[in-house]
């Protein structure tokens, strides 16, 4: 730091105004400049491809040939998209950290000093998070199918790339994108990394387990159907799986409602509370 003071340029030179695309760009710079982001997505990809490899390389040919027709498609899709089960947990953690990391480090005050209306920062974070998680989800499941179809075909299964495959790939991307935004909302409400991660994983991972335990002891009709309305059950069905007799749009709707509730709660609290 030199003691000589450099001349400052004239006030209000050609510097620009706040615009939403600029705020998205800023959030993208923030997002990609943290190591945790790169690691998180790398883990989603590695776990996804690893899980697919494990299944398709170890499944015996005798099992494949004995399968009924409709179970074959399910097996290919299940093997190719199985990584999404782990991937949803990883992107949920990332979604929480994207905001809780700003609160724990004090960065949020810099963010809000630059964008005092706050909401655009939050929406821009969601856009960046959604797009990145969507792309990673698509790449992971695309790689999964690219691995599963030839390997399973070589083992005598009649597997091919169909429109169903395309929908499963897009659905996996859509779900990962939305579940990360769902977690962003939870992280914004709770502000704390530990609390946010616990709550997000509680909903995505623990809730289905708890309900299945309860259902194994009781025989209440509405409890039996409750799991169908969970974000993770509907979400994994988007990646080519099944969720009771739900149509794909109904699964999308379930995931969207969970995401919207969490995201809107985050937006309201973000605007009201002191930073």
């Amino acid at each position: 730091m030199s003691t000589a003071v450099a001349p400052a340029p004239a006030h209000h030179s050609s510097l620009g105004h706040l615009t939403f695309p600029r705020i998205v760009r800023s959030e993208w710079i923030k997002f990609r400049s943290l190591r945790s982001t790169i690691w998180t997505y790398a883990i989603v990809l590695v776990v996804g491809i690893g899980l697919t490899s494990l299944v398709v390389f170890t499944i015996p040919e005798s099992t494949l040939t004995r399968l009924p027709d409709d179970a074959r498609d399910q097996l290919v899709t299940g093997a190719a998209t199985g990584g999404i089960f782990i991937g949803q947990l990883i992107v949920a953690v990332l979604g929480v950290l994207v905001i809780s990391g700003e609160y724990s480090t004090g960065m949020i005050r810099s963010s809000f000093a630059a964008v005092p209306r706050r909401t655009p920062v939050y929406v821009a974070k969601a856009v960046v998070l959604f797009v990145a998680s969507f792309v990673v989800g698509v790449i992971t499941t695309l790689a999964g199918f690219a691995l599963a179809i030839p390997v399973l075909s070589s083992k005598g299964l009649d597997a091919s790339f169909t429109t169903g495959t395309v929908w499963a790939i897009l659905g996996a991307g859509l779900y990962l994108g939305l579940v990360s935004v769902f977690a962003l909302g939870i992280g914004t409400v709770l502000r704390s990394g530990a609390g946010g991660i616990a709550a997000a994983l509680g909903v995505v991972f623990l809730l289905p387990i708890i309900l299945s335990i309860v259902n194994s002891f009781t025989n209440v009709d509405w409890l039996k159907h409750l799991p169908e309305y969970l974000i993770s059950t509907a979400g994994q069905a988007l990646a080519g799986g099944r969720n009771a007799d739900f149509e794909p749009w109904q699964n999308v709707l379930v995931v969207l409602v969970w995401t919207a509730v969490s995201f809107i709660a985050g937006a309201v609290i973000l605007k009201r509370r002191d930073a």
Binding site: H11, M107, F112, A113, A114
Partner: protein
């Protein structure tokens, strides 16, 4: 220009900022002085729209901060050192801040140079010293070349060279016609940097005046007089506004009269003087006198 009108912030039943009104003028360095916990940072956060006032308003350059279309070119703020994600490099932090307003990369490099951060710009902020964090905060505040600067404890953690730099920098910015509002709990720092001082204690404004006026107004100057005929002198100068405090057998401290007045009185009565020294009140004393009853967390020696 910053205009505070009846600004109040309460947390539950605790009042952090209590009905303060003040105008911070452009072209001057205005010091915001007060003991820790006086409400300085809360006030600054309310100006920046980070904390919501319970009552009252804070107007910056004619509007509430949140209403500006281009906030970073209106106000640059150093609110606390390291309001930065620790996992990001200084360079990326500044790039992200700049991107919100479409501020070009060249300006990012300019502020890095301006604050002497070239050597560490590529390092992650988590490893920064407090001083480096302050420089980064100042760099971020300067990104938009703002008309108003709000700096909360800017010299905190800086080495002597850095302190000198901030002082000159603040004065330079004010000389360009900008509004410079900086807080400190160190009176000596203010005495050397500010033109105008607002003293805050327990959320209230105790004084809002030019530095010299604070000095003159709060603590009376006194004169130390040493004389072998001290009793005769005391009789010669006594009066309603004059107070004489004995320090030693031949030494007193007189307040209410100037050294010239005492010297003339002594000459008139033929009194021998061995010492006649005016004692100027320091800003430090003025500050202590002002905030004596307003310190929230005073160290009590005897309970």
């Amino acid at each position: 220009m910053i205009e505070l009108t009846r600004l109040t912030k309460t947390y539950g039943d605790k009042t952090a900022v209590n009905d303060i009104s003040a105008t911070i003028q452009p072209g001057k360095v205005t010091g915001f002085l007060g003991p820790n916990g006086a409400g300085k940072s809360t006030t600054m956060r309310m100006i920046m729209g980070l904390d919501r006032p319970t009552h009252g308003t804070a107007i910056v350059n004619g509007k509430r901060y949140v209403e500006h279309k281009s906030p970073l070119t209106e106000v640059g703020a150093l609110l606390d050192a390291k309001a930065v994600h620790t996992g990001r490099t200084a360079h990326n932090h500044l790039l992200a801040m700049a991107a919100t307003h479409g501020i070009p990369k060249s300006r990012v490099h300019e502020v890095i140079g301006l604050t002497g951060l070239e050597a560490v710009a590529g390092k992650r902020v988590g490893g920064f010293s407090l001083g480096m964090g302050q420089r980064l905060g100042i760099a971020a505040a300067m990104l938009g070349d703002p008309a108003t600067l709000i700096l909360d404890e800017p010299v905190n953690g800086l080495d002597p060279e850095g302190v000198l730099w901030v002082r000159q920098f603040a004065r330079h910015l004010a000389s360009e016609g900008r509004t410079v509002f900086l807080s400190s709990h160190l009176m000596s720092e203010m005495a050397q940097t500010a033109d105008h001082i607002i003293v805050l204690g327990r959320g209230r404004i105790l004084a809002d005046a030019p530095v010299q006026a604070i000095l003159d107004g709060v603590t009376q100057s006194s004169v130390r007089v040493r004389s072998p005929q001290i009793d005769a002198l005391a009789r010669a100068i006594q009066g309603a506004d004059v107070s004489i405090t004995g320090l030693e057998s031949e030494l007193v401290e007189v307040s209410g009269l100037s050294a010239a007045q005492i010297g003339e009185a002594a000459a008139q009565f033929g009194i021998v003087l061995h010492e006649l020294s005016p004692i100027n009140a320091s800003l430090e004393q003025a500050y202590l006198a002002l905030t004596q009853d307003e310190v929230e967390y005073r160290t009590e020696v005897s309970r």
